[in-house]
Symmetry: C2
């Protein structure tokens, strides 16, 4: 392969020498052009092949080093078990195509997509443009305040109000965290060490009911607290997200270790899923592992994860700075594009024309908020925590912006949650109801995801207006089948148009409902009023 | 180099085997992490080295092919002359560092930066996002018209008005083009074939005066026609740009061939600049070369340029489609962000607060217009013409968006014009006044560039309001010295902030002046009124 380029050269020389008369000059030029094009192509192929080769070489080398490393880790496991697991996991991946068994998530040391992309000059410049826009927004606010009031104001009343009653939020959060630490783990520890080995018995079912009861209380009690204390939206948003996150975490822990324990007797060294078994003197993983899992930026429970060598505190600080900057960005966008248009909501807003104008006006800001929220949470926040916990696998998202199909977009947008849904919903559903029900499993995943999203919005806003649910379960689900056939890159344009329209509608409709509930009088005091969108019935 | 990776591996193995006790597990892990990092770094280096090697190999191969090809080209030149020039040009480049002689522009077959960048998935997605935003804007207009008027309107009155009286523009353009073809070339042909060889004489100076007279008439007469027929701004913009373009083209042609002819007797085969001489029977290049130069997307005259193999008409069509799409984009931006705010200009706009608000409101749209204008003209339009003319050198701009210094931004933003300014202003100035006056030469280039830009705006808008000139010659020139020391990538943020603020001010101030001149009564009928900004003195 590598010798093709130079081999062509004498041929080119020969061509030229054979054609000596001026009349064939054009022909010769054509030939030479062709040779040059060919050389360019060959060069590209050569590059590609060499790089591929090099990648393979490197991957195999790293895999070997990794195997040695993990095999020799002495975190309470036998030296050989871990490497067996890795092999089994990779076997599983291949097997899945034969017997329909679905592959497990494999954790490896890797950086986030944007971390790698930012090393490209041109992509880094896009980041700089966003920073420049933030600087311009800030300058705008500062100078405007200075002109208007003759002094620097710098009051972020929206943020202050939205994140109000923060001490109460912190207290509630500590209680929630403590309950997962001091209720779930001890209970599971007690159950795992005291259950009679063998098939599930009555006692096990009672424990299961208790567990489900706990999860229900975990969802209900904080909501009660939130509504009683009338926490503002952003504070409530934090609580709702933490509820769901901790629920998913405890489910992952209980689900993984429960199955492991139930399968314990069948095969002493490992269970049917290929997960390793804790040492026989303790049937429950150590508390430190549970604690690490509760803070680690993943929702899939493993006894150990690939770890990085050290903590770069500068990187942690820069990531938290980015989170703060994104918060400012969101503030500016809301303050500038959302609040002025909807603050004075009245029945004039309900005409088709006004609705249309607001929806289209919200499309760019709405999508910007989505993108900034993604960057703040799924890139900066998770990377900061991963760095502090030396968590190696930073693939929290993939390159969803390049998606040409909606299914790919859903899979790549939030890998952390997607992995949880895939492992504990999709796979478990397939295991229970058979692999022929994959479509039903997918629909269930969609439903649960849509319900979770809507749940967060209902709790945060304090009203029921299932726009997101309708979009998610309706258009979003439908688009999967519409775009799934499209492998052409131009479907990416369709995806972005759909994202723009979707985000515009979301931002516009939720803002309208929010201000309608502020400005319009209550029709009745019944529960029905809570369900009927006020922006539809507003009469002032 | 290539064996370093694998060589490391036995070492890693050995490390692991030597450390058998559990207490050294952490140490071992650290070692392994280090090995993995080292391997990653080695892989990077290997990649880089291989690619560099490959690039060099390929470059030398292409250069050889090119030499053979150009040596054998029979476009009226001796077989050996061209290859000598290439060598001399590359010698010049090296020489320039020794004796201060400035290098010449070298034309080579190469693609535009964006053409290459669009092959990266992530950059292509950014293009798709722009397309999606255009689709959303169009949908907005269509649906709004449909809701408002019950039918599709699709009248782009702004474009229709701005580009009004197009037949007159076409007629004027044809006259301008014909004058460069039927006046400049025949006159130069006559002079070159009839002058007495040797040092410049009286006759030559008379011809020079006639040439300067022609250029003056070329600038004055179309303006007279434009003002008499009251052409709208976009039509006038076309005329003004074409005036300057054709002026620069004729200057390049006359300047290059004049010097070549004046130096003719000194050295029969080539002149002091290393340019080749036409065959002795004709001292002026063939008409076809002049014609090709007039249409080719370059302002530097050469008797021949690197050419591509064939015309990809699909590519031409796609580029013109992009130009049209960019026109629509500009229309939407003006219609949405500019006209509604300034249409009703009155004295309320002149308060500091209103001024501030409009300036900041214009920053994002203004920069977007700049970027879209850049893409439409410097990428799509020039690429379409280059493709149709099989013009090989597509480096019309470089990656200005990555610039960290203003001088780099000015050099890379518009390579076509920069090359002209560099070759025919900067180099000629240095040649005339010595190389110690480089700062003066740079200032002159800036001044001419600023005057040209301001000229276009004055002609297009029909009023004198030198905001761009002040920015260009003031802030823009000053920033060169401010940012020139900054090699850190974060200066790129400063550049973008400056671009945002500059474009915001430009768009805001020119729009205000435009509508002030429409809405505010004329103070006096004198020429002074033409010079005093109406937006400053508006009293309604």
């Amino acid at each position: 392969m590598a010798s093709n380029g130079p081999v062509q050269q004498p041929g080119a020389n020969g061509d030229v020498k054979n054609a000596e008369t001026p009349t064939t000059a054009a022909q010769r030029q054509v030939n030479l052009q062709r040779i040059r094009d060919q050389a360019q192509r060959l060069k590209g192929e050569l590059h590609e092949n060499l790089n591929k080769h090099l990648d393979e070489l490197f991957e195999s080398f790293v895999a070997e080093v990794e195997l040695i490393e993990q095999g020799s880790t002495s975190n309470g496991f036998p030296v050989s078990s871990k490497s067996v697991i890795i092999k089994e996991e990779s076997l599983n991946k291949h097997k899945s195509r034969k017997d329909g068994d679905l592959p497990d998530k494999v954790f490896v040391n890797r950086r986030s997509v944007l971390t790698e992309l930012f090393e490209i000059n041109h992509i880094r410049t896009i980041y700089h443009i966003f920073v420049a826009i933030l600087v311009v927004f800030s300058l705008n606010t500062i100078i405007f305040d200075w002109v208007e009031q003759g002094r620097l104001v710098l009051d972020f009343d929206l943020i202050q109000w939205g994140l109000g009653k923060l001490p109460k939020v912190m207290a509630l959060w500590v209680c929630m965290k403590l309950s997962t630490l001091l209720v779930v783990y001890p209970a599971f520890y007690y159950w795992s060490n005291n259950r009679v080995p063998g098939k599930p018995r009555l006692m096990d079912y009672i424990w299961l009911v208790l567990y489900i009861l706990y999860e229900c209380l975990f969802l209900v009690l904080p909501i009660k607290y939130v509504t009683e204390n009338e926490l503002p939206p952003a504070s409530t948003l934090i609580i709702a997200c933490e509820q769901l996150r901790l629920c998913m975490k405890t489910h992952a822990f209980v689900r993984t270790n429960m199955v492991r324990l139930l399968n314990h007797k069948k095969d002493d060294s490992k269970d049917s899923e290929g997960d390793e078994m804790p040492t026989s003197d303790s049937r429950c993983p150590g508390f430190s592992k549970y604690l690490y899992f509760l803070f680690a930026p993943t929702l899939i429970y493993r006894d150990s994860y690939p770890r990085t060598h050290s903590i770069r505190w500068k990187y942690v600080v820069s990531n938290f700075t980015q989170v703060l900057a994104c918060l400012m960005y969101t503030y500016y966008i809301f303050e500038r594009f959302c609040i002025p248009y909807f603050r004075k909501f009245n029945k004039d807003h309900v005409t088709p024309k006004a609705l249309m104008l607001s929806a289209f006006g919200c499309m760019l800001p709405g999508t910007l908020v989505l993108f900034i929220g993604f960057f703040a949470i799924l890139h900066s926040w998770l990377n900061a925590f991963a760095e502090m916990l030396r968590f190696g696998d930073r693939l929290f998202y993939k390159d969803w912006w390049n998606s040409t199909t909606f299914s790919n977009y859903y899979r790549t947008w939030n890998v952390v949650v997607h992995d949880w849904l895939y492992t504990y919903i999709y796979k478990d559903f397939c295991r229970l109801f058979g692999h022929q029900n994959r479509a039903a499993a997918m629909a269930l995943v969609f439903l649960i995801s849509a319900v979770f999203h809507e749940y967060v919005l209902i709790i945060s806003f304090g009203f029921f207006y299932p726009v997101l649910f309708v979009m998610f379960a309706g258009a979003g689900f439908g688009f999967i089948f519409l775009t799934d056939k499209g492998s052409s890159r131009s479907w990416n344009v369709f995806l972005w148009v759909a994202l723009f329209i979707g985000n515009g509608l979301l931002m516009c409709l939720y803002s309208m409902e929010w201000y309608a509930r502020k400005n319009c009088p209550v029709n009745s005091d019944s529960f029905v009023d809570y369900l009927i969108p006020r922006s539809w019935t507003c009469m002032i």
